[in-house]
């Protein structure tokens, strides 16, 4: 029996938005989906039970972080990542390409891989395309990503081109190496890089399509290039990516960017945004963001969002949450994370309902003009 499959259930008539079903050995994912980020084998502050109650269908963990701590060998001995963290629903692991470039100092990009020093203890490491595949096979995550080279929005065309060349070479090596394991418990996605250039994105796309990946990720966006460039690349890719494969927009994002992604046929999203801002006191609601540090909430005994039915909004007031935050109580990030994830899941559910009903564009416009 085939353990993985993807099918488009419905296509929007006005846009490239679509409903899909991604079947994995650990469960079915209904797309468009938002994947909460559990970098270090935990979605910060949340238990697995919380995520199940929230209705989370897939989470993202990070190969780079887990490789440095606690080590992949330890996780393999625990029976793989699902067993280690006791999360028996789908997991996607990021290759760590992004983290090598954002966290590591003194890194050196070679043709065969990336040499870097750990941000934890300064130890020297070399990650090659093969090694990154090997590590993710040891982790046993459902969806795995090849090593790629991420560049910032400030990179020159030459730098972007050189990085793309390496990324394409590495993708080829990754596919070849992954094939040698001949197992059906994991699938590999290809990552489309190419920076701000439509020309390079097109080249990346053509080369990657030749490798017949199960799914395609769009990398190197939302890294400071600006909305206009990001949306134009999404639009270009929406017409060119194979229609019958899942499409994943990496590291995105905010509700606004997710709407742009969905409109351009993206099926999967991940971002630290809802969980990260929760830890600094920001609640995401249908009426906009609430920064609890703001004095105006000190005596506000209403819930953050009176229409929200999450545990946090059903039980607690802005005044109480603000007190917890200012008193450095762990319950503040915990409750805020729960609320923000609840919002994101609800937001994705509304997107799915709108596509189903055939009024996605109406929903998008209402949301952006704050008229829901």
């Amino acid at each position: 029996m085939k353990q993985f499959s993807f099918k488009v259930i419905k296509e929007d008539k006005d846009t490239c938005a679509r409903l899909g079903e991604l079947v994995t050995p650990h469960g079915v994912i209904h797309t468009p989906v938002f994947m909460p980020v559990g970098t270090q084998a935990t979605v910060k502050t949340m238990t697995g039970q919380d995520l199940e109650i929230l209705g989370v269908e897939i989470i993202l963990c990070n190969t780079f972080h887990l490789y440095l701590r606690p080590g992949i060998e330890l996780i393999e001995k625990a029976g793989g990542l699902h067993s280690f963290m006791n999360w028996h629903h789908p997991i996607l692991t990021d290759s760590g390409g992004y983290q090598i470039f954002s966290l590591s100092q003194l890194r050196e990009v070679k043709e065969e891989g990336v040499c870097f020093y750990s941000h934890l203890d300064g130890g020297e490491h070399l990650l090659t395309p093969k090694k990154v595949i090997q590590l993710q096979i040891q982790l046993g995550s459902d969806i795995i990503m090849p090593l790629d080279e991420c560049i910032g929005a400030q990179a020159s065309t030459e730098e972007t081109e050189a990085a793309l060349r390496r990324t394409l070479n590495w993708a080829g090596e990754s596919v070849e190496y992954f094939k040698t394991f001949a197992q059906d418990k994991q699938v590999l996605f290809g990552i489309i890089q190419g920076g701000k250039s439509i020309y390079l994105r097109k080249r990346a796309l053509e080369e990657m399509k030749k490798l017949n990946f199960f799914g395609y990720a769009i990398g190197g966006l939302s890294v400071g290039e600006g909305k206009e460039i990001m949306y134009s690349i999404l639009k270009f890719l929406s017409g060119e990516l194979p229609a019958d494969t899942p499409r994943y927009l990496m590291g995105v994002g905010t509700p606004e960017d997710i709407l742009a992604g969905v409109e351009n046929g993206v099926d999967m999203f991940d971002c630290v945004y809802p969980t990260r801002v929760a830890r600094t006191g920001t609640l995401i609601t249908w009426k906009g963001k609430i920064n609890l540090k703001n004095k105006e909430y000190a005596y506000n005994f209403s819930p953050p969002d009176p229409n929200c039915s999450c545990y946090c909004c059903r039980h607690h007031s802005l005044a109480y949450l603000r007190h917890l935050l200012l008193a450095d109580e762990i319950l503040a990030p915990r409750l805020l994370t729960y609320h923000n994830l609840f919002f994101m899941l609800e937001f994705m559910a509304e997107i799915k309902r709108a596509i189903k009903k055939g009024n996605f564009l109406e929903f998008k416009n209402k949301f952006l003009s704050n008229k829901l």
Copy 2:
């Protein structure tokens, strides 16, 4: 109808241990009871739902901390402490006497009260016996405590005597002032001080009994005086405290000290111990303490306590919990706090079962010799 009552349900034949029922407007408390500490209107890392699932019947909050942040007026405007934190079971508030002496610098003890500077912003405050009663009436906690003067184990007899004299005067003022409110939603406990001296403890007891408190707290123990002195004072008081009133041993404690308290007729306990050590990586189990920082647990894929049925032990391994702790993940203190409170509640339940069965002493001896 009387909103508060206390009755002894069963007395142990071999010791002063007893089962009791303490009825409050917010629910019935089955004694001996352990009260988790929620200093800042939150039991650190836990939601109210967690506490309900754990079977917590009463928590302790701290008047001193809440007075400084977020302020009592704010909590009163929220409808009182129960509403503010959305915990609709019993709450006991500590007067803050202990915190004034442990946290504040530059404090000055006067006959009329204590003048101190806030540890948060350095602001100057004067707390008098009346003010402390007033604050707790505004909070609306079920059981309230009068201002007392805590002294360390190093205090001289003269210092202890002077502190006791003030504590007794303040107790009288507190009772008089509390009476003027003529309400039946709260009860006031008296606090027996007197340091290490049986003579002073006896005097404290006699004077306090004259004031006819609803319950009596034993203060100023477990502050460095040593087990022998602590147990001898407990033994002395066990024969002298009114049998039909609840007895509360403040700030205690560890399972060992709770057993000594129960043996000497104590009904109520509170301590930061299980929640505080959780945050530094210690699990309390029936087989002793586990310090997760210990390397030996790195590859241990068994639960902390295979016989424990708490969420943490049913779902997670020592290796995973250790990873969370070393990676500074909030889920570590959260899961460890949950386990440690589960243990304490289970421990108190076992004590109650043993008293009911008439084998408390056997239970105590088996626990202390690690033979359960």
